[in-house]
Amino acid sequence: MNVLRFMLHNRGQVLELTVEHLWLVGVSTVFAMLIGIPLGILIAHRRRLNKPVLAAANIIQTIPSLALFGFLLPVPWLGDRSERLAILALTLYALLPIIRNTYTGITGVDAAVLEAGRGMGLTESQLLFQVELPLAVSVILSGVRIAIVVAVGLATIAAAIGAGGLGEFIFRGLAMVDNRVILAGAIPAAILALLADVGVGWLERRLRAR
């Protein structure tokens, strides 16, 4: 109850940090989709590229997040505003699930269907937009869903470099050894992750090809 009272008392700040948090997650997810989906499509069509690209995305994933933030801090333009840096790091982390699911979704399209389409005289781009992407969309979205849920958690660490977000409460709480403050950041973050999970999951089911 103490926690709730604390949050209610500081509702202005909770809201502000939640919005900041959403902004970090939202922007980085959009970037990751803009990069990851085309890259996933590319490696699904040029199979030779799939190993190196997935390996690179995998390696990024293995860098500890705190270390990545640290590495990027001295980079000139990025270091100017910690928000940019946080978004770049979150984008990099979100890439793997999006690339991998796009690749899986597209390569999972029935070869007979593609061949029928090609044989009927669909161009490669018609095949992509009318057949491959619609059939892969739910798999791709499930990758996006994973990316968002992971990003909501990771974005709390962005506060360590001063990028804001709900991590502020968590770090402050840790410094003050005050669980109420930690929870004031952790609870909204958990709720955000759950909402994103449910929301995108719903979209995923709506768009699932028959």
């Binding site: 029935d110 007979a112 269907v113 061949e115 029928a116 389409g117 090609r118 044989g119 009927m120 005289g121 669909l122 161009t123 018609q126 009318q130 057949v131 619609p134 059939l135 090809a209 028959r210």
Partner: protein, 271 residues
């Protein structure tokens, strides 16, 4: 017998003088790595006939079919479609002029029956009304009831899916139909039904059909001429009537494998 027989017969076997070649394979070879899939393959397909490519698995018949619409490019040799090398024509144009039907139909699972059938007309930019009426016409032609229009492929039986596959191939009214074992995955009764309907359809439409099968009975029933293939080579081209009587060792082996009663199968389609 009589006139009825004569007409049917003429429909199945083009009278020689009027025969115009629509597809021609000129000394075509196709190799993948070390494997010679097709070697010096030459064949004429005439307007309005149903040419059946018959052969066992791996004999090169599907490759032969795919050479026509350039899903496969020959290693050497040329394929002529309507008197021009098929490499002269834009590949999408070429393919849209050749209806393509495959085993299990290859329908788009996320499109309704209606959209599946109307896909080529719609990418060709036909007006909506025309697509709708064409789709309805084809559904009727293939014995699909109107309420099927809004169903999805997974809600159809195998036979219905294949009918949709044929309707889709006919949508833009192509002169040529390329059919790759279209009825092979169906149960015997449905297959029989679709073969019968194919014959009726062909009597009305007179498409130039290249039909791949390994089923001799199907070949005898549907073909104007049968091209027997073995190990990437064309063994011989015969009418069904000639086929069952042929003394060619490959043909005889095929006929023997299918057992008795084939003469009647050869005649059933004709009479």
């Amino acid at each position: 017998m009589g006139l009825r027989y004569e007409l049917r017969y003429a429909g199945r076997n083009m009278p020689e003088p009027a025969a115009t070649p629509v597809i021609e394979f000129r000394d075509v070879s196709f190799r993948v790595g070390q494997t010679q899939v097709l070697s010096s393959f030459s064949l004429l397909v005439f307007k309005g006939e149903t040419l059946v490519l018959l052969g066992r698995s791996g004999s090169g018949k599907t490759t032969t079919l795919k050479l026509i619409n350039r899903l496969v490019a020959p290693t050497t040799g040329e394929i002529y479609v309507n008197g021009r090398p098929n490499t002269d024509v834009n590949v999408t144009r070429l393919r849209r002029g050749i209806g393509y039907v495959i085993q299990d139909a290859g329908l788009f699972p996320h499109f309704t029956v209606e959209r599946n059938i109307g896909l080529v007309p719609s990418i060709e930019g036909w007006p909506k009304e025309r697509i709708r009426s064409r789709t309805q016409e084809l559904m009727q032609l293939l014995g699909l009831s109107p309420e099927m229009a809004t169903r999805y492929p997974h809600q159809l039986s195998g036979g219905q899916r294949q009918r949709v596959g044929v309707a889709r191939a006919l949508a833009a009214d192509p002169e040529i139909l390329a059919m790759d074992e279209p009825f092979a995955a169906l149960d015997p009764l449905t297959r029989d039904e679709l073969q019968r309907e194919f014959l009726l359809l062909q009597q009305r439409l007179h498409k130039t059909v290249v039909f791949v099968t390994h089923d001799l009975r199907e070949a005898l029933r549907l073909a104007s001429r049968i091209a027997l293939m073995e190990a990437g080579k064309l063994v011989t081209v015969l009418t069904p009537q000639e086929f069952v009587k042929s003394s060619d060792p490959w043909v005889a082996a095929y006929v023997r494998a299918f057992g008795d009663g084939l003469e009647s199968a050869a005649n059933r389609g004709a009479s």
